[in-house]
């Protein structure tokens, strides 16, 4: 399911609208994932057990993750190259099971809908969903 010109346009347009809140969206999404999908906490055991949207490390890390998404938006025409360094990081150092990218994507989408209910129309939703799938794909490139 590759990104059409329309998908790319929708993603860039929506990103421009939400860019200012990207850090907050990331913090919410990561925190919600850790609460609603407790198995994902296994990657963050060094931060403690009770992790949520208010945990300082979670908030900071949510911002870092959205920085990666920002990079992906800029490299939307060649995600494989754009994400190559991050892919190596996830493949060789972090070794995050790629199934978790889908779980985080769901939470990012949910928070986008919460913060921008009028703008996150079904048309925007489908393009963003496809985009995040492609980002996950690019991020898994170097795994094996």
């Amino acid at each position: 399911m590759s990104l059409s010109a329309k998908d790319k346009a929708e993603v860039k347009k929506f990103w421009a609208k939400i860019e200012g809140k990207a850090g907050e969206i990331g913090a919410e999404a990561l925190g919600r994932m850790l609460v609603a999908y407790p198995q994902t906490k296994t990657y963050f055991s060094h931060w403690g057990h009770d992790l949520n949207t208010q945990t300082p490390q979670v908030r900071k890390h949510g911002g870092i993750i959205m920085g990666g998404i920002a990079k992906a938006v800029k490299s939307i025409d060649d995600l494989t190259s754009g994400m190559s360094t991050l892919s190596e990081l996830h493949a060789f150092k972090l070794r995050v099971d790629p199934a978790n990218f889908k779980i985080l994507a769901h939470n990012i989408i949910l928070v986008m809908a919460m913060y921008f209910p009028a703008d996150f129309t079904p048309e925007v939703h489908v393009s963003v969903d496809k985009f995040l799938q492609r980002v996950a794909w690019a991020l898994s490139e170097r795994y094996r």
């Binding site: 609460v35 989408i109 809908a113 919460m114 996150f120 489908v126 969903d129």
Partner: protein, 147 residues
């Protein structure tokens, strides 16, 4: 047997007690058909689904969205036996409607997004976790009678 805390029961009955079925049902189903267009395969007889605008304004889809959402009421009323409550509906979806059970999760995700957008910050992480747990149990029960 699924265990529900008092807090979880209260969250679920709270959400459904305050739900505007006529608003949320159509929005959730339309979003599912737009975001996951292959789900349109089950709605060949529903009229014009040609584009997002057509789907959003299609009265048959709207009516069906309300019907599906009310279908969740019986789970809300029978939280301690969702499995048995949906046995008949599971057979219906399998043998009569021939719906691929993977689709239940897609609709459930769209419903979660629509409710989150409606409730805003009231849709706390704990509310999200409880609501998703509830829908996961419903989805599992609906897929149980497939063979």
């Amino acid at each position: 047997m699924v265990e529900w805390t008092e807090q979880e029961r209260s969250i679920i009955s709270g959400i459904f007690g305050n739900l505007n079925y006529e608003d949320i049902g159509p929005k959730a189903l339309a979003r599912c058909l737009i975001v996951y267009p292959w789900t349109q395969r089950y709605f060949g007889a529903f009229g014009n689904l040609y584009n997002a605008e057509a789907i959003k304004s299609n009265p048959n889809i709207a009516a069906h969205g309300i019907k599906v959402l009310h279908g969740l009421d019986r789970a809300v009323k029978n939280m301690d036996n969702i499995k048995a409550t949906y046995a008949e509906l599971s057979v219906l979806h399998s043998e009569k409607l021939h719906v691929d059970p993977d689709n239940f999760k897609l609709l459930s995700d769209c419903l979660t997004v629509v409710i989150a957008a409606k409730m805003g910050s009231a849709f706390t992480p704990e509310t999200q976790a409880t609501f998703q747990k509830f829908l996961a149990v419903v989805v599992s029960a609906l897929g149980r009678q497939y063979h």
